[in-house]
Structures are given as C-alpha cells and as structure tokens.
Symmetry: C2
Subunit: 342 residues, 2 copies
DNA sequence: TTGTACGCGTTATCAC
DNA sequence: GTGATAACGCGTACAA
C-alpha cells in the first residue's frame, strides 16, 4: 500500500504538499498539483483513514444503536440512514441491542472506543442515565434520538407527533361512522414501552373521542405488547364484549395485522362490520386484504434527517441544549376502513 | 482523556509496562501490575483504538454489505451477526446496497478504507469481479459470503442446500397426496437472481417430481420476483389453468404469502383444496392463518457461523482457496399443508 | 523485571 | 509556494 511519503518522493515534493493537494488547499501551484495528482494515480494511493483519525480525532463514522432491528419500522430507518450517510461519506457502526437494557452500556462504550463522530439512538434501549454518562464522557459527540424523548442537554430528539396521529386515526374512524371505538394500546412496561409514541397515541385517541362527544369506555381499551399475537388476542377479547366495538385503533401495525386476522376468523367483514386503523405503515400493511389503513411514520425522513442533522452538528459542534424535531404521521387509507370504490 | 503516559507516570512505571499489563504479558510482577491497574481505574483510562489500529494495522471491526436490509431473511442474519460480533469484541460496519450493483464498488472501498479485519457479503449485490479486486487489494482480509456462491480463492461461502430444500418441500407435498405440483420460482434476472438458492430450489423440485414418477409440466412453473405481489399474481395464473395444481412450492415466503392471499381470495380452502410450501421461514410465516409451511433457513446459524469463521480466519490468515459450507433448511409444517389435529 | 526510543501515516505549524 | 518537523497514542525491539 502506497503512503503519502511514496507519493511525495515520486513527485519530488514534500508530504506537506501532498497533504495540501489532497485537501484542496488553495496555495499549491497548478503545476505541482498536477504532478502530485499524477503520482497519486500512478501509485494508486489512498489516504490512511486510521492515521488521519489519530491526528484529527475524528472517526468519520457514526454509530447507531437500535433496540430491535427486526422491527420493520426500525429496519427502514436504518436503511435510509445507511444510504444518507454514504452521501456524506461517512460509514455506519451498527449495534442491535435486542431490547436488552444491559447491552446499552456495552454498546455505548464500543461506540466511544471507535471514536464515532456522532451517535444515533433508535428506539428505547438506552437508558437516560447511561446516555447522560456518554454525553459527559464524549462532550464533542452529537447525539440524536429517534422516537424516544430524552430530556438531556445536547440530545436532539426526532419524534413523530403521535398524539396528533392517534387523534387523526381515531377521528378517521368516527368520520366513517364508528360510534364505539376501541383501542389496542402498546405495553406499559417492557420492550417498546418507553418509546415516545407509546403514551401519546392513547392521548390522541382520547382527544378524538372527547371532541366527537363519544363517552370513553375503559373496557374498550386493551393493552398489547406491540407484537402480532397480542393484537390478535386483544381483538378477540374486544369482540367477546357484551357490546363489541365497531372500530378499533391499534397502536402499531404488527398488532393491527394480528387483529385483522382475528377479525377474519370471527367472520367479520371489514370494513362493514368492523373498521381497523394501525400505526407505522410497515410494508406488509399494503399487502393484506383488505389493506390496512394506517398512520404512516416518515421512516425515510427520519433516517435522512438524522444523518443531515448529525452532519451539521459535527461541523458546528454539539448544541448545548436539548431540542426536539416533530414530524407528522400521515393517514394512509386502505380497505380496512373504507370499501374500495368500484 | 487519559493516555498511557498518564497511567505510566501516575503509577511510576514506563508506558511499556502499562502496555504489558493491558495485554496480560506474563513478565510483569504482581505488585507493579496491581499498581498499574489502580492507576488505570483512577484515571479512567481506556486504550485508544485508533492509535492501536495505526500500529497493528487492524481495525477490530468487520464490514457487512447486505443487498437489501428490509428482506426479513437478511435482517435476521444481520441481527445475529451483530450479536455474535459483540461476543468477539468486534464492531460491525454495515452497508445496505439496495440491490444497486454500482453501490458495491463504493461500499467495498469504504470497507477497505476503514481497514476492516474481515468482510461479509450477504446476498447478491457484489459482483464477482469487484470482489476479486478487493481480494487482490486487501490480501489479508478474509471474506465470507452468505447465500451467494463465489468461486474465488480465499472466499468462504456459507450456503443453504436449496436443492435438497426444494426436494424436501416438494416431496412433502407429494407425500400429502398432491399429484399436480406447481412451482413459483424466483427471478432469472434482477434483484435476487444470482442468489445461490435461486436455481437450486427449482432443481430440487424437479428431482422430487421425477422420483415420485410425476411428469413435469412446464405450464405449472411460474416465475416471480421474490416479492409479495408477484406471488399473488403467479398463483392467480396457476389457478386459472385448465387443470390447476393441487399444490404449489413457492421459492420464498414473501411470494408464498402473496399466493396464500390469492388462494384465499379464490375461495380455496387450505390445505384441502390447495397446499402451499414457502421458503425462508420469515417471522410472519407462523402468523398467518393457516400458518405457512415452509423450509426454514438457518438464519441464526448463518450469522453466528460467519462471525466465528471470520474470527478464526483473522487469527490464522485468510485461506488461499475457495471453500463452501453447506447448511440445511428444515421443513416446518404448518396449516398450509396439513390440517391442524383436533 | 523494567525502561528507552522509534515508527505507524497523517495533519498542522512554522520557517524559508 | 514549499519543505521540515513535531505531534497524535500506542506497540515493541532492544537495552539495561
């Protein structure tokens, strides 16, 4: 592997000049610049990123810790992230923490050791106190959180307005004639429980009921685990109520798909006998029949924004205060709430 | 941030001794070792991985290029990989190449620049010629491919015996009474086409037909794109044949789920009117009703083995010859081929 | 059993 | 415009 020295001697200049050429310094004469360029190509020289990092104290990589990569929402965020980072010529260190809080510490340390220039925390694995420690120990490194609201100076949270999302989802059901709207909520503890949207969706649901003058019935609120089976079970319970609901707002798509299955098994005809709205818009939501009406999370935007924001903060330095960016979920209407127009 | 020098002066020894303590050299006296340890803790010293890398020419990270992270099969492989690597104290550089062949070059170069200690190529994005160039330019770096058969010296391919898998899937259908077994195959070009299993599954299908004395009917073989919609469409075509099949072997689960949907829509009752076997065993396959019988890919094993193998090769040096490790897909029987026992 | 000194490939600061 | 040269933090002969 050719080094800068090789290029230098080959083109009869000093390493300083070669470095200058590489970094487009403005003071190099055109003739030497050309000579150096030629030498670079001839030797097939590539700068040694490690040496550069040692000197500049930058890793030119960013780290991402994701609580569960197999969650389709997260998968897409990571994918967008990967592509956005490539544009900025940065690489991505990925850690899946598998909802195990104890792994958070290990993962954070790993990121620190690798001298990442920025950190992205996706989901709910990393405990606030741990992150606070990271902020303290790596005061230069900007941190962005996705779908988790940290109240820590320096952390920038990318959130989706799930109160509004829950509201819109529920209102959509009411506008389509539902009068007894149930909700299958996310878990109050365990995996996914500390996610930003978890509590908010419920709040939006309540607001929509209120606004429409529908009385809230606690029996209509079920709690699931964000997983398929729990949605199926929850809907079965709802359907066996003395007065079952005529519509259900489900806090995420995986549970909604489970609910869809349960509805089918019960012989219900969607959307006539029962309407269903999910949350996330995972790829599969458009593929079932009927298709699943859902609140689409701006997955691509989240990934891309995280990359851009991080890039900016790496240049300008980490902000000293906490901040939040709110994004909207958009209603995607499919067959589970509205019959296809003929 | 404390450096080795700090630790050295604080404990009244030289940096060499500190280094020795860190690397568990056997010649350090217990007393000095203890003293150094204390100093390490007191100063909260952490070795600088970048400096170490510069010296040792190792990055202590491995790179993975995945052709499509949103493919549930790949997602799980990557997840297993991430966890296995943590055990080995290595970190993971991840690139999604999104089925774009041109990105392969960029990604490979990125990995090279980061001085990864090993490379894992998952899926079919990286062209053989490109990989050959990498092998040449980075002669130390072991390379492992998952589900793609490269015939390049030094590359170790982790494959699943899909001929056998296709055979077993088809035989399972025949054993359950099918006499007219169709197949929905993967694409012959484009995304996923150069995957190892693509052609093999078809071969296994043919072998099983042969062995059972069933005559092959070209009209019963459809070609899909590995995606949901294509499976749905393909099954619809099959069902509208003059003599439709009574069972279908589908080359992956996503298409099989599409086929399942089409079967339902046509009013077919599975498994009585029609049997279906998929391939991969993605999480969703167990969740539909009826559940999807499928050939389970050893996703976890693939990820873990890749990590272990790489680890070993990093120690012993990259093998000089090409090699293949074959794994088995296992039949998972669900409702789409066998009625639940009461 | 321990310390000294050099080099890894860059970047950055000067002096020319 | 250009070239020496000193860091960056660590590993490791080699000397003691």
């Amino acid at each position: 592997m050719a080094t800068m020295k090789d290029v230098a001697s080959r083109s009869g200049v000093s390493v300083a000049t070669v470095s200058a050429v590489i970094h487009d310094a403005d003071w190099v004469s055109d003739s030497t610049r050309a000579r150096v360029q030629r030498a670079i190509e001839a030797t097939n020289y590539r700068p040694n990123h490690v040496a550069r990092s040692l000197k500049t104290r930058r890793g030119y990589a960013i780290g991402a810790i994701v609580s569960d990569l197999t969650n389709p929402f997260f998968t897409e965020v990571v994918r967008s992230l990967s592509h956005a980072l490539r544009q900025h010529d940065r690489s991505l260190f990925l850690c899946d923490s598998d909802h195990q809080f104890d792994l958070g510490a290990t993962n954070l340390r790993m990121m620190q050791d690798k001298q990442v220039d920025g950190l992205i925390v996706i989901g709910d694995t990393v405990r606030p106190r741990l992150l606070a420690k990271f902020l303290e120990e790596a005061p230069e490194v900007p941190v962005i959180a996705i779908e988790r609201a940290y109240d820590l100076d320096g952390v920038c949270c990318l959130l989706v307005d799930s109160e509004e999302g829950g509201y819109r989802a529920t209102r959509h059901l009411i506008e389509n004639g539902a009068t007894r709207v149930a909700m299958i909520n996310g878990p109050e503890e365990g995996a996914g429980s500390t996610t930003y949207g978890r509590a908010k969706r419920y709040e939006g649901y309540r607001r929509a009921l209120n606004e429409a003058g529908l009385t809230f019935d606690a029996a209509l609120v079920e709690q699931g685990t964000f997983r398929y089976e729990s949605g199926k079970a929850a809907l079965n319970r709802l359907l066996s109520l003395p007065t079952p609901p005529d519509a259900v707002f489900v806090a995420n798509d995986m549970m909604a798909l489970g609910a869809l299955e349960a509805a089918r098994n019960s012989g219900r005809n969607l959307p006539h006998d029962l309407m269903l709205v999910g949350y996330d818009d995972i790829p599969l939501a458009s593929l079932t029949s009927p298709g699943l009406t859902t609140m689409a999370m701006p997955k691509h935007t989240l990934g891309t924004t995280a990359a851009t924001l991080l890039h900016k903060q790496i240049e300008t330095g980490r902000p000293t205060t906490a901040s939040r960016h709110m994004f909207d979920a958009t209603l995607v209407v499919r067959g589970s709430t509205r019959a296809p127009t003929p």
